[in-house]
Amino acid sequence: MDTIFSGLATGFMVALTPFNLMLVMGGCFFGTLIGALPGIGPINGVAILLPIAYSLGFPPESALILLAGIYYGAEYGGRISSILLNVPGDAGAVMTTLDGNPMARKGEAGRALSLSAVASFIGGTVSIVLMTLFAPVLSKFAVTFSPADYVALMVFAFASLASLVGKNPTKTLLGALIGLMLATIGIDANTGVARYAFGIPDLLAGIDFLIVVVGLFGMAELLSLVEEQLSGRLKTLPVDKSFVRWADMAKAKWTILRCSIIGFIIGVLPGTGASVASAVAYGTEKRLAGEDGKLFGTGDVRGLAAPESANNAAAGGAMVPMLTLGIPGSGTTAILLGALLMFNIQPGPLLFTQHPEIAWGLIASMYVGNVALLLINLPLVGLFARLLLIPQHYLTPLIAILSFVGIYSIVGNPFDLFLIVGLGVFGWFLKKMQFSLAPIILGFVLGGLFEGNLRRALSISGGDWGILFEDYQSLLLYGLAILVVVGPAYVSYRNRKAAKLNA
């Protein structure tokens, strides 16, 4: 404990120098802007700004603090276009559209933006506190998570998705399957065989997750907007000066706390990040809400707070394996890891002894960054909400322009632009046929993890399926999966029975 506090003290000495403080603020601000662009999330935000940070010639701890600020800023920024435009700013913000956008449509954009900023702040802060206290223990847990356990985690994730079932369960299942099938496109990492690439080199690497998100959500939303507009059904959205209320916080407080912890734990596991965390959090909360669960998807404050606290908590959790083991837990931390290596700093068990000023400075800057983001974001809420006052005939083309910028700047491949337009048309048809798009995205995210780990687990056991039910982590997850599916059904059955008795 003592080492933690003295370490933190060292860290704050580094992070609170006026220069570094300025960098955190600057990083958070630009990160928010970049994160708000559809498609560009923390991964690409950090990757894009990394060379600039390096070329400015700052000392390593300052450059890293700047990058961490951008990382957090982009994580915050992702929610903005989810809420305002129904276009997720990045992978972790997909679930934010489900309740965030309906709130904006009701004229509560300000309330949604400010509530999600507070939820993000709490999620982020809880995860940093947990990281500071338990990083070494957690990193041990993270590596013991075997391929078989990942399979169990995927089963649990799909089980918690069962709560997303809309009017037509078959269509929800079919949506998830479409996502899973899209994920099989590209070279198989296990045997190197190309699947469904048809010799098109751009497809060999598989379809990038961001392309699916921007295509299915952004472009399809654009087409829906055009349709509504041309048929005269679209009214300009009302924008009031609403803001988060204490009552909202009171209603969502347990949701935010639970989801912060769920998000953090999922973030710690290598390979699973903000997108999985927010999906599991949303599904779990919807189930826990019982009868109120029906309100999820119509602009419920808990439905908005759940994914936002979880995805920011996951961002902090992902730092654990990177800092303590040198193993990146997510795409973004992989880039940060690269940044550390660029300054000839090797992350891993020795980081805290060899470069305490960097390790603790980075951690302290996360505390500072979270506060900074809250302070930057709350006053900007009104400004962002006014985005909705832009007349639709400008806003609609703007969605395409922003999406093109976001997608093109990742790898500079024009093929991707055609891909998002194509997926957009497909997504529009799916919407017309009353499919929900979220299960497709989640099927896509979970698909590769599910298949890869299932095959790895079976390779380890030599084909014995028993390995999937071998250790307590897997069994616990299967237990939770059953609970998530059966529990709420049982509760509502009991309630109905009780109601009958009373009648």
């Binding site: 037509n168 045997t191 500079g412 632009l417 337009v421």
Partner: protein, 151 residues
């Protein structure tokens, strides 16, 4: 009806997916319990069953899209494809100005306003994203050719 047409098309695509999974995906050298073909096979079978169910019991009978709307939506999609096609050739500034102007005009903006919007989106967007944030945006192949031949 709409549901039936859509699920019919989806069925054919998935059937093609299944045929590939069952016939052509093979690892040349592999002894793992599950090969690269097993997972797609599994997915395709379940998906085909789901699609058959949707086809059997459709719940969306009318897409509610009048004929004129199809034309105009098609026009919008073409516009975006043209934008994608010209993105690298004409560069971000010019292609964005063309797209923004045409699209906003089509959606009902006044001619002057559409032109102003196009200018702001193209030039402002380039200044913000490429110059300030140093993001990777196309300058325009045709201009690069012009510039390099001029040297």
């Amino acid at each position: 009806m709409a549901d039936r047409i859509f699920s019919g098309v989806l069925f054919l695509v998935t059937l093609a997916y299944a045929v590939i999974a069952f016939t052509s995906i093979k690892a040349p050298f592999q002894y793992d319990p599950l090969g690269p073909e097993t997972w797609p096979q599994l997915l395709s079978v379940v998906a085909l069953l789901c699609i058959a169910h949707v086809f059997w019991r459709p719940d969306v009978h009318d897409a509610g899209v009048p004929r004129m709307m199809w034309v105009r939506l098609g026009y919008m999609v073409l516009l975006m494809l043209a934008y994608a096609e010209l993105y690298e050739r004409l560069g971000f500034v010019v292609s964005t100005m063309l797209y923004a102007g045409t699209a906003s005009r089509m959606l009902g903006a006044k001619l002057v306003n559409a032109a102003i919007f196009a200018g702001v989106a193209g030039i402002g967007g380039y200044l913000l994203c490429s110059v300030i944030l140093d993001m990777n945006l196309p300058f325009g192949e045709w201009f690069e050719v012009l510039l390099s031949s001029g040297e």
